[in-house]
Amino acid sequence: MSDNALYIDEMMDQYPAKPESLIVILQEIQNKYGFISGDAMRLASEHVHVPLTQAYAVATFYQSFRLDPVGEHEIKVCLGTACHLKGGQRLVEDLERRLHVESGGTTEDMRFTLNTVNCVGACALAPVVSVDNQYHPNATAKKMEKVLKSLTDPSLEEMEGTGNA
């Protein structure tokens, strides 16, 4: 934790020690560690001078903050309108079955976290699934099966149509 505390301290110094910096500091922490630990939350709240309870109020209000560790790979299925109409929900259910995890959760072996998002703005390619911030356009259960396989066994790298998010 001391390394973490050091990083967080240095990072926080770039932002004014005011309540308005809270969200961006939490975002930076999450970018670095994938989630916000209790210790990190405390450091952040002290730095911007808000009560710990208020820091939690902020972190729990916004969907993007996570208070639990995330898996090695993050899968996000878009459930925006275009993706919904083209079967986004079915993809979520299929991934839940394949990974044995509910949407929002992380697999027991900490390999995958499954989430849904509301429209990533690539609706023309609906349904869209993002895996570790790479978009997979026109996703189908079959395509996702291949993607999962390639993540489990990287030698199977024959994924088509991927790009940076």
Binding site: F61, G87, D94, R97, G121, C123, A124, Y135
Partner: protein, 633 residues
């Protein structure tokens, strides 16, 4: 590369007058050879997702390998979304304007050899007109582009958004220089008033009037005052703000600086959703470059006017697009809306007078200042002037971004530009305005698309998402979808929204299971009325709209669910059955391999069949079958 390194020697770059800007522009243009071939690769989100980064890399290495000895070496340029995302990755060869679609990395060599070296066309990469099968050579002849009026989007697809010289070459910051050197702030406000511009964020509030009332508030309260860009774009299905921020970030920034000048603001904020990393990156680069050139920051263009801006990343809450929630979010709090008896122009950010406008609204400002409010007012229709960018998605052939003058008929967008519904059937309805909007049925396809006509039809302009639905889309499901979306996104502060939406969604859940009664429809109507009348913010008060309009135009479909336990569109899970057409099934076994419960049986190369008792109706077989052999009723 270029501008970053130079930013260090900032004084060398600083522009100190309109003359400086014009001189720089001339320098950039003089250095360019109009005959030099330019290979333009779309790096918008859609094309990137389809692999366009690999395409541009392949083109680059093919170019290096070709050892071209031509007098002018072709340049490669990557741009923001060119709109025609469903046909990406797109590659355009300028100045000839040859348009290649669905380009793969392996096409790169041929493009270089044939088109660049020999001047020939790679026919197989051309767009084929679906109506007559003709291949179309030039971008501007493709029906999708031909009928659009690209005003706000005019730069996107032409400029490299990460290189300010491209923006300056195409006339960027001319409006700012003009305003700072020849116009008073009051004159800028007047131009905006004359233009008739109405905010593009949803409600269509006249921008000039908003700015005017901010001025009145400032008279009372004094400064500071803030200008804010609403780049939250929470509307699912909308991506025009994303495209503008990614593809022409300087346009948004220039608009914001002009607004700041008009209102006397020295600080601005861009609130951009965190789901748009590329937009944030391009805006950040644009701001650094603008600062280096003296177009942002202290003493802009030596005019004595100083203004700077900052980006705030959203944190994934739809309600933060609402103005008061957005302000509290920037201040570092949970994004709870507050009652609006005090207007934001009087008490916005930190209780100060604040002007919040949408991304597209801001991007319109430089155009108006450049060409005049009168010019702008002539585009569109009297009470909805200018153009509007729509994201056309769903069951339509040409999915993408479309810009048209306000007031064109809906059918122009969906049928002429969008190319209609795949399969050629008429569309069933178009959902506009997102969760606050409604559905416009096919019978109203001649409805002019402008703020007031859409409202009259029971829908809304909203941010400009257009979701085309065909007869495989179920209105009960769509209503349920929006209600669930808003239920999850509601801040939960007031009762009508918190409890009302859940109750409405429960009723629709029942419908989708074939339960409920006709009386439930009355309940939906009265609940809607109650929520509309008493919700605190517009998230709640507009939430019943999708249900109300679909009830108005598609009541039969609701009734089919309740009285006949049928989902006519074949969507609602509990009311449908999958089957395999033995005539069409080739026995390829793909579906059987994918079926998660293993309820598809059949011999190889013989027709397969589904055990409907075991089937969990996941629809995977239908998605998998390449022979259209799986049916749903």
């Amino acid at each position: 590369m270029h501008d970053h390194a130079l930013a260090e020697q900032s004084d060398a770059l600083r522009l100190r007058s309109l003359d400086d800007l014009n001189r720089l522009r001339k320098q950039i243009l003089d250095k360019r050879d109009p005959d030099q071939p330019e290979i333009v690769v779309c790096h918008g989100t859609g094309c990137l997702a389809n692999g366009s980064a690999d395409v541009s890399a392949a083109i680059r290495s093919a170019l290096d390998a070709s050892g071209i000895e031509a007098k002018v070496v072709p340049g490669i340029k990557t741009t923001g979304c060119q709109g025609f995302c469903s046909h990406g990755p797109l590659v355009v060869i300028r100045p000839r304007g040859i348009f290649y679609q669905k380009v793969k990395p392996k096409d790169a060599k041929e493009i270089i050899e044939k088109t660049i070296v020999q001047g020939d066309v790679v026919k197989r990469l051309l767009y084929k007109n679906p109506t007559d099968g003709e291949k179309i050579l030039h971008e501007q002849d493709i029906p999708f582009y031909k009928r659009q009026t690209r005003v706000v989007l005019h730069n996107i697809g032409k400029i490299d958004p990460t290189d300010i010289s491209d923006t300056i070459a195409s006339g960027g910051y001319q409006a700012l220089a003009k305003a700072l050197t020849t116009m008073t702030p009051e004159q800028v406000v007047q131009e905006i008033e004359t233009s008739g511009l109405r905010g593009r964020g949803g409600a269509g509030f006249p921008t000039g009037r908003k700015w005017r009332s901010a001025l009145t508030a400032i008279e009372k309260k004094g400064r500071p005052v803030y200008v804010v860009v609403n780049g939250d774009e929470g509307d699912p299905g909308a991506f025009m703000d994303r495209t503008i921020m990614e593809g022409d970030p300087h346009a948004v920034l220039e608009g914001l600086i002009l607004g700041a000048y008009a209102l006397g603001a020295n600080q601005g904020y861009l609130y951009v959703r965190a789901e748009y990393p590329l937009a944030i990156k391009h805006l950040t680069i644009a701001m650094e470059q603008a600062r280096a050139y003296g177009l942002l920051g202290d003493n802009i263009l030596n005019s004595g006017f100083s203004f700077d801006a900052r980006i705030n990343r959203g944190a994934g809450a739809f309600v933060c697009g609402e103005s008061t929630a957005l302000f509290t979010s920037i201040e570092g709090n949970p994004g709870n809306p507050r009652p609006k008896y005090v207007r934001s122009v009087e008490e916005g950010l930190w209780g100060r007078p604040t002007v919040l406008n949408n991304v597209e609204t801001w991007a319109n400002i430089p155009l108006i200042v450049n060409k005049g409010g009168d010019w702008y007012a002539k585009i569109g229709v009297p009470h909805s002037t200018g153009t509007k960018v729509f994201s056309l998605v769903g069951k339509v052939n040409n999915v993408g971004l479309v810009e048209v003058p306000m007031g064109v008929p809906l059918s122009t967008i969906v049928e002429d530009i969008g190319g209609g519904v795949p399969g050629g059937a008429p569309f069933k309805a178009v959902q506009t305005g997102g969760p606050s909007g409604g559905c416009i049925p096919y019978e109203l396809k001649d409805t002019p698309v402008d703020f007031d006509s859409l409202t009259k039809a029971g829908s809304m302009m909203g941010s400009g998402a257009m979701i085309v639905m065909d007869n495989r889309d179920c209105v009960v499901d769509v209503g349920r979808y929006f209600l669930r979306f808003l239920e999850e996104e509601s801040c939960g502060k007031c009762m009508p929204c918190r409890l009302g939406l859940s109750r409405m969604r429960e009723i629709l859940d029942n419908f989708s299971e074939g339960k409920g009664s006709e009386k439930d429809i009355e309940d939906l109507l009265s609940l809607s009325k109650a929520i509309q009348d008493s919700a605190l913010c517009a998230l709640g008060s507009s939430a019943p709209n999708p249900v109300l309009t679909t009830l108005k135009y598609f009541k039969d479909e609701y009734l089919a669910h309740v009285t006949r336990q049928k989902c006519p569109a074949g969507v609602c899970k509990n009311l449908i059955t999958y089957s395999i057409d033995p005539e069409l099934c080739t026995g390829c076994t793909s579906c059987a391999k994918q079926c998660p419960v293993g309820c598809i049986e059949g011999e190889k190369k013989k027709p397969h069949a589904i055990d409907t008792g075991l089937c969990i109706r996941c629809g995977i077989c239908m998605d998998t079958c390449k022979f259209n052999a799986v049916n749903v009723i």
